[in-house]
């Protein structure tokens, strides 16, 4: 990593290959920015472009967020603004960092600007989860201390925010159909998951069907939140190393879900409807 990242013009292909197998924490922020095509590989152009994109985000915040006025806002804007606002305290509540008011304000701005810029999907619950790994990684880069937010300067905070916004945007551009009106992308992927499992473990599918368990009942969330609700932050970061290294991660994710499901095949086959649903809603992955 040191060598690849140190080059004047970074070989993104090589970086991709490395990151696919996991990225050391100290290189993660930079590697993700590069692989999500937010930061240019060419060191000479880097500062200019980053400044421009961060400024652009700051402008968008002023334009959309700071000027938000409930009296004048359109119904769409208002719905988005309020929905995000009520979801903030309910975002990754197991991590104290995300209960911090300053952090929540940051997330509110990021998600609102994202929603305004993506009217085709709008903000969908679960995207609030997806922004947290970025926030965690970019914040860690600035400050490894637990009491971070106290020591963060406003300009540092703006940078973290802008990076989160752009990386979230670029990442979700490859998974947009998950968040359209009827969740078409998710339905298709859940269907594909079922097909994969049928091929690899037909008995499991038969067992699930015999017990009236539908794949959509448990797998929808796996796609909507990219398994974030099933894994620890640590585990998610590792998984995302692979995802940022792969533009078609959204399709690859189907195979990850298949692997997760198959790993519990034996247990599931001994369970009935209720036990299966309970198990899959809260899989024993704490130690993963």
């Amino acid at each position: 990593f040191d060598k690849v990242l140190g080059a004047a013009v970074i070989d993104l292909g090589a970086l991709q290959a490395l990151c696919w197998s996991g990225c050391p924490a100290e290189h993660r922020a930079m590697t993700w920015r590069l692989l999500l095509r937010y930061m240019p590989g060419n060191a000479e152009r880097r500062e200019d472009k980053m400044n421009r994109l961060r400024l652009e985000y700051a402008d968008a915040v002023v334009h959309y967020f700071d000027k938000y006025d409930p009296e004048k806002a359109s119904l769409y804007d208002k719905t988005m603004y309020n929905q995000i606002y009520v979801d903030l305290p309910r975002t990754n509540p197991s991590m104290p960092l995300f209960q911090n008011e300053q952090v929540q304000q940051s997330l509110h701005r990021i998600l609102y600007v994202w929603a305004i810029r993506h009217p085709g999907t709008g903000y969908v619950q679960g995207i609030n989860d997806l922004v947290t790994p970025f926030f965690f990684v970019f914040l860690q880069e600035v400050c490894w201390n637990g009491e971070v937010m106290k020591f963060l300067t406003p300009s540092q905070q703006q940078k973290v925010e802008a990076d989160c916004y752009h990386c979230l945007t670029n990442m979700l551009d490859n998974a947009q159909d998950n968040y359209v009106l009827d969740s078409k992308g998710i339905q298709e992927k859940v269907f594909k998951l079922k097909r994969i499992i049928s091929r690899l473990d037909e008995k499991l599918v038969q067992h699930l069907e015999a017990n009236d368990v539908e794949f959509l009942q448990f797998a929808f969330r796996w796609f909507n939140c990219l398994l974030m609700r099933e894994f620890s932050m640590e585990c998610t970061l590792r998984l995302w190393d692979t995802y940022v290294a792969d533009k078609s991660f959204a399709s690859f994710h189907v195979y990850v879900c298949a692997a997760v499901l198959l790993s519990f095949s034996k247990e599931l086959k001994a369970m009935d409807f209720q036990e299966i649903i309970f198990f899959l809603q809260k899989m024993p992955t704490e130690k993963w």
Binding site: Q83, V86, D87, L181, N211, F273, Q274
Partner: protein, 215 residues
């Protein structure tokens, strides 16, 4: 979706706008826990509870659905075959009450008359911020043949009563459907759905004394 289609298995679906407290109501009911930082529900989650009603033990299979409208496209897989629906609104939010009315329409249209409806006005602990008057909600519930209760998941008020009334009515409804033992007691003139008036302290009288089943 038949679930565990046991004889004493009843399927309930929770519907209502986002953040009115659907998950909190169920968690209070099933686990007796409460957190005001409850994660948003994605699509739906499943819970169950065994209860004793008279001599019968029945299992309530509860689907707690996501409030955000985005997830409603798949609603039918949860309310199809449901024996009862608990429609939740936030007493401090008029819009959430309007959503309940939409749900009633959709359910009547898609599922029909047989599903037992119960409406719960949650967050009565925030009485100072109340926007939906109890009388208004009761009147509406009566007009569509639904129970109405006022609840507070935070304080644990009114919840047992709500689910108990719902469960009793579902049992009664199923017995009627099965048309076995057609009238152990003259159920003949009882309305299909009963609006049980509930007092704001969680409701004792009408609910427990409702014309429910005799099991």
């Amino acid at each position: 979706m038949a679930d565990v289609r046991g004889k004493n298995n009843y399927k309930i679906v929770l519907l209502g706008e986002g953040r009115v407290g659907k998950t909190s109501l169920v968690l209070r009911y099933v686990n007796n826990t409460f957190s005001d930082k409850q994660q948003t529900t994605i699509q739906a989650s499943f819970l169950s509870k065994r209860i004793n009603i008279g001599e019968n033990t029945c299992n309530l299979a509860i689907w707690d659905t996501a409030g955000q409208e985005r997830f409603h496209a798949l609603g039918p897989i949860y309310y199809r075959d449901a024996d009862g629906a608990l429609l939740v609104y936030d007493t401090t939010d008029t819009e959430s009450f309007a959503k309940v009315k939409n749900w009633v329409k959709e359910l009547r249209k898609m599922v029909g008359q047989e599903i037992v409806l119960c409406i719960a006005g949650n967050k009565i602990d925030l009485d100072k911020e109340r926007q939906v008057e109890k009388s208004e909600a009761e009147e509406y519930a009566a007009s569509v043949g639904a129970y109405h209760f006022q609840t507070s998941a935070k304080l644990g008020k009114g919840i047992e009563e709500t689910f108990l009334a719902l469960a009793k009515k579902m049992i009664e409804q199923r017995q009627e459907n099965d048309s076995r033992q057609s009238a152990r007691r003259s159920g003949g003139n009882a309305p299909i759905l009963v609006v049980a008036d509930d007092t704001s302290n969680g409701g004792s009288g009408a609910a427990s004394g409702s014309k429910a089943c005799n099991c």
